[in-house]
Structure formats: structure tokens, C-alpha cells
């Protein structure tokens, strides 16, 4: 471009097939000045540096607790007394891990929680897609009010309902049917031998809550699925109907395969939040009947914390318990985070 614009360009014929173009090139300094010493470039560089420093700093803030927990988990009691030790233990040991795994029944808790979280995750993902699809694609009387109720379940925290949730499943009864059959109302009819069911310390409470889309943050999942399905063009279903598919066949054959990425996102949320949940496990699993993840947070008896830095050591042990709890989640996250972000971006959560 430059060469053409300049009048000083000379084209000389060297040989028959070669030409030599002779022009005055802008000096190196001039080119440098124009390219780099302008306001735009300087602002962009400063912004780039600022952004980079900020992001790295905040990443440090996020990652640091995890790194220091990992460091602490390898320390032996001697390291906590030694003031020169901060992050890198002088006497690294695996005793903490070994003691916790041996004494707290980690594998049992792991298996129980895994079954619970996997079950809850799968069921909640499916149910929330079904409900979300119903809200997104069908117009019926009262759908607005019903959706408002979904939002309400999201807004009312389950902590408020702690006691009544416990009581509901401690004395489980549908509209007093069990009480009627069991002779609780009139003593002469006694078809079943109980007046209510105690469902606590079983998987049932969470299974029932999951099946009805009322479990932890299910309102949010329903909302997300609804937004996703509203972005799916109606023509897809219409063509399926024309080809003779029923509503349900369309849903299972066309819609579900379409929404797999979004469902993976929901499943990730449901699985991970159920895994680290300590509210429902505390309410529904009151006695020591079933070992779950919250039960393994303890200081093993074979590790003595009775010395000067003992409370630090005890805290390090607790953190190690925490690390053991989230270890599977870290693996899940490494493989799943792609879906998490893409899923939400694609969902058109906004719109």
C-alpha cells in the first residue's frame, strides 16, 4: 500500500523476467513510533497488564486455601511446632491421611454418598428437564402461577423449614391415609399396623424430594431448563408431530438428545452440591445409622493433638478430611468444567 502511495517509487527493469522496485521505505523509527507509541496501544498495554495482574492475584486468592490445605495435610506434628516451617513440611508424612481413612470409615461414607449423589443427580436432572419442558413449550391455564410457585420454592430457604421437613418424614403420611388405615382416627378400622412411616435415615426423603423437583436448588435447575427449551425452535416438534410422533415420544426421541449438554451441566451442579451438602444429611440422617461424608470430619484417636501447636494440627486434620471429601469432586470438575461454562453460555439463560 505504502509503495503505491509514494510518488518516489521507481520500477526498473533488471532483466527480461525480473523487475526491481525501488522506493523509499519509511524509516524504522517512524514505523515503530506509529505502531507502538500511540494512545491506543499504550492504553491497551496498561489494561492488559492490569487485567493480567488482577486475574493472577484473584486466582491466587482462590487457589491459596486449597494449596495450603494440601501442604498442611502432609505435615507431621513436628512441623507445627517448628516456626521455620510454613508451607513445605520438613518431615512430610502420610499419617494424617492413613489415620483418617482407617478410623473414620472413609470408604463406607464414600460409597454411601456416591450412591446418594449419583441417584439424586440423575433423578433431579431428568425430573427438572421434564418439568422445565412442560413450562417452556405448553400453554395451559395456571402455568404462570405454577411457575411462580417454582420460584417460591427457590426463594424460601429450606433452613426455614428444617423442623417441619424433619417431622414430615419422621411421621410420613399422605393426607392422613396411613393414619386412617392404621386406626389412628377410629380404633375399629386397622388395615395396616402403623399409623405413620419413619423415613428418616433412609434414602427415601431425598428420593421423594428429588422425584418431585423440590430438593436443593431444584427451582434453579427448572428455571435453567425452561430457559434452554424456550430457545429450541418450535418447528422441530411440529415436524415430529406431523410425522406422527406423540408428545412424549417427541420429548424422548427429539428433545432429550438435543439437550444432553445442558443436562450434563445440571447433573454436575446437582451431583456436586449434593455431595458437599450438610443440611439434608443433618436433617434426614440424624442417628449414626448410615455413614455419610459429614460424619468423617473428626480427629482420629491415634493422632495426638496434645502439644503446643496442637490446635493447629487439629485444624490441619479437619482440613485433610475436607480434602478427602472433595477429592472426587476435583476430578469431576477437571473433566466437567468445560460443560459447566459452555452449557450455561449456550443455554441462553438470559432471553
Amino acid at each position: 500500500m505504502n509503495a503505491q502511495a509514494q510518488p518516489a517509487t521507481k520500477v526498473m527493469k533488471e532483466t527480461k523476467n525480473k523487475i526491481r522496485v525501488d522506493f523509499e521505505r519509511t524509516s524504522r523509527w517512524e514505523r515503530f513510533r506509529i505502531k507502538y507509541l500511540n494512545g491506543h496501544f499504550i492504553v491497551m498495554t496498561v489494561w492488559w497488564l492490569f487485567r493480567f495482574v488482577l486475574l493472577v492475584g484473584l486466582s491466587y486468592v482462590i487457589l491459596m486455601p486449597f494449596l495450603s490445605k494440601i501442604a498442611g495435610s502432609f505435615m507431621s506434628p513436628e512441623d507445627f511446632v517448628d516456626v521455620t516451617v510454613k508451607y513445605i513440611p520438613k518431615y512430610p508424612t502420610l499419617d494424617t491421611y492413613r489415620a483418617i481413612i482407617e478410623e473414620s470409615g472413609y470408604w463406607e461414607a464414600f460409597a454411601n454418598t456416591f450412591i446418594l449423589s449419583l441417584g439424586c443427580g440423575v433423578v433431579q436432572t431428568f425430573i427438572c428437564s421434564v418439568i422445565g419442558y412442560g413450562f417452556a413449550k405448553f400453554k395451559f391455564k395456571g402455568s404462570g402461577i405454577l411457575f411462580l410457585l417454582v420460584v417460591m420454592t427457590m426463594v424460601i430457604p429450606h433452613n426455614t423449614l428444617e423442623l417441619s421437613l424433619f417431622m414430615e418424614f419422621r411421621y410420613f403420611d399422605i393426607f392422613g391415609i396411613f393414619r386412617l388405615l392404621g386406626g389412628g382416627v377410629t380404633a375399629d378400622i386397622e388395615l395396616i399396623s402403623f399409623t405413620s412411616l419413619n423415613l428418616n435415615n433412609t434414602y427415601w426423603p431425598l428420593a421423594i424430594l428429588s422425584l418431585t423437583g423440590l430438593a436443593y436448588r431444584n427451582g434453579l435447575y427448572i428455571f435453567m431448563m425452561r430457559q434452554f427449551y424456550r430457545g429450541v425452535p418450535d418447528e422441530l416438534e411440529e415436524s415430529a408431530y406431523l410425522d406422527g410422533c406423540g408428545v412424549f415420544k417427541t420429548f424422548f426421541r427429539i428433545i432429550i438428545p438435543l439437550s444432553v449438554p445442558m443436562m450434563v451441566t445440571i447433573f454436575l451442579f446437582a451431583f456436586c452440591w449434593q455431595w458437599t451438602d450438610n443440611f439434608y444429611t443433618r436433617v434426614f440422617f440424624t442417628s449414626t445409622g448410615m455413614k455419610l461424608m459429614p460424619d468423617i470430619i473428626m480427629v482420629p484417636r491415634q493422632l495426638s493433638t496434645d502439644f503446643a501447636g496442637g490446635d493447629l494440627y487439629a485444624s490441619a486434620i479437619q482440613n485433610t478430611c475436607g480434602l478427602l471429601i472433595i477429592a472426587p469432586l476435583i476430578i469431576v470438575y477437571i473433566f466437567g468444567q468445560r460443560f459447566l461454562i459452555q452449557g450455561i453460555e449456550r443455554s441462553g439463560l438470559v432471553g
Binding site: V61, F140, S164, G246, C272, N278, L340, G348
Partner: protein
Amino acid sequence: MNQTAELTQSPETAVKKKRKPASLDKKKARAGWLFVLPFVLGFVIIYLPVIYNSILYSFTKISIVAGGGYRLTWVGWENYSDALFVDAGFVQTLVLGIKQLIFDIPAIVIFSLFMAVLLNEKMIGRAAFRAIFFIPVILSTGLIGSIDQSNRMLDYMESTSVVDMGDGASDTATQVISSIQIQRLFENMVIGEDLLNYVVGLVNDIYDIVNRSGVQMLIFLAALQSISPAIYESCEIDGSTAWETFWKITLPMISPMILVNTVYTVIDAFTSADNIVMRYIDNIYSSPGGNVLSSAMAWMYFLLVMIIIAAVAGILSAYTFYQRQER
């Protein structure tokens, strides 16, 4: 599958009864009901009784009867008056908790918006930064949050005890900048003492704020992605700077999500385990005879937070810009 059978057969049965077959709209409405049926059933069978009972319990005292059962004694407003006037710490905790909530909302919303804008830009290592920033969404909830509440080891590890500023103040956990340095920076400016304390408090709490703004960041990021690039392009052609584009385009376009995120932040803060009022209520719940009292407290707290949400949503929705109407 029974339901599909029913649907396909319904025209035939309708013909037998000499009635007009259901129109497509009606059929679709019926299918819609079937899809949302699980929620409706759960809501009626489980959720309504639970809410009803929770309100009921807050007006009663519970005694467990031998042989499987419990008895409720109606005590009227006694639990409420106990919570407000007899219990020593509740009102104090409530006021403190509400104050904290009101101060945290703008911090979290603004921070998450800022981070979402940053993470939305094209740069080297964007995927890695995104992955790091969404770690708290998954990992710092529930159990881990409750372990972290009083974590002596983290305090110790992150204290910079070597650097003593000489003011007798020792640095506590997860500080990026020493609060004293900020204080020195601001001392010469004409700036209110309260604002100074607020900013210093925020800087000290940065870990907490980062942890709590994960979902909000995701929502903002989705909102930013949904803005049509054509708008930005036309802005660029008209010669607007990045600063102008942000205030004139980005902010109005994502303002509905600011509303959503504010409400979400309030709800999240309200339900999280490290909320001081919730912790107080939990303590009361596990103390003997405190379960009904905790119900009363929780309802009072819930009503207060509802009022806050209504107020915030009312104010914000006046400034919210909707590009298009609902379909």
C-alpha cells in the same frame, strides 16, 4: 407410558360419547399438565404441608409422646415474643446480619459484573482463568464452607507475621493488600470514615466475596454472550470508546440480569451456612426445646429478607431496560 396410551385413545372415546374431540390446544394443555405433574404432586403432598406445619409449629410447643407420636400445644405468639424479648442474642444478631447483607449486596454484584466482563474478553489463558474462577461454585459450598468457617490453619498459613507494620495490628487471613496500607492511602483524601471502613472491610473479605460470586459471574457471563456483536460493531463504527460502549450498551443490555443477580445474592446470602443469623438459628434448633423457637425466628427472618428483596427489586426494576418483550 400409560399416559401416552390415554392420549392417543382419547379421540376415540370422545367419538363414542358423541362429543367433539379435544382441540389441539386442549390436548397440548393436557400434555403440559402431565409434564409438570411431578412438581404439582410434590408441591401439594409435601411442600404445602411442610410450609403449613412450619408456620403452625412456630405457634406451638412440641412434646414427643411415648409410642411414636407427638403432641402440639397451642401457645399463640409466645415463641415470637420469646425470640424478640426473652432470647438475649437474637435481635442483636438479626440487626447485624441484615446490616451485613445490605452491605454485601452491592459489593458482590459489582465484583461479579466486573469479573464477568474481564473473563469475557479474548486473552491468553482465558479458559484456565475461567476454570479457576468457577472452582468456588462447586467446591466451596456446604461442608467445605462449614469447615472453613473457623479455620485456624488457614489463618496461620496466610498471616504475614514477618511484616509487622508497627501499628500493633497483625494481618489476618487472606489479605491481598494490608488494610493499613489502604488506610494510609485514604487518610489524606477527603473521604468519609464510614466509606473508608467499608472499603477496607471489603478488601479484607475478598476471599469471601470471590467465593460467593461464582454463580453470579456465570449468569453475567451468559448475559454478556447473548448481546449481539452487531451492536458493538455499529458502536465501533460510530466511534465510541470502550468506556462509552460499556455504559451505553453493555450495562443497559444486562440490566435485567443485574436484577436477577441481586435477588439471587440476597437469597444465597440468606440461605448460606455462614450467615450469622442462620448459624444462630441452627444453634437454637439443636438446643433442647429450641426447635419451635427456631421456627419462629426463621419465619421472622424470612419476612424481613422478603421485605428487603421486594424493596431492592422495586428500586432496580425502575432502572431495568428490556430489549424485547416476552414471547
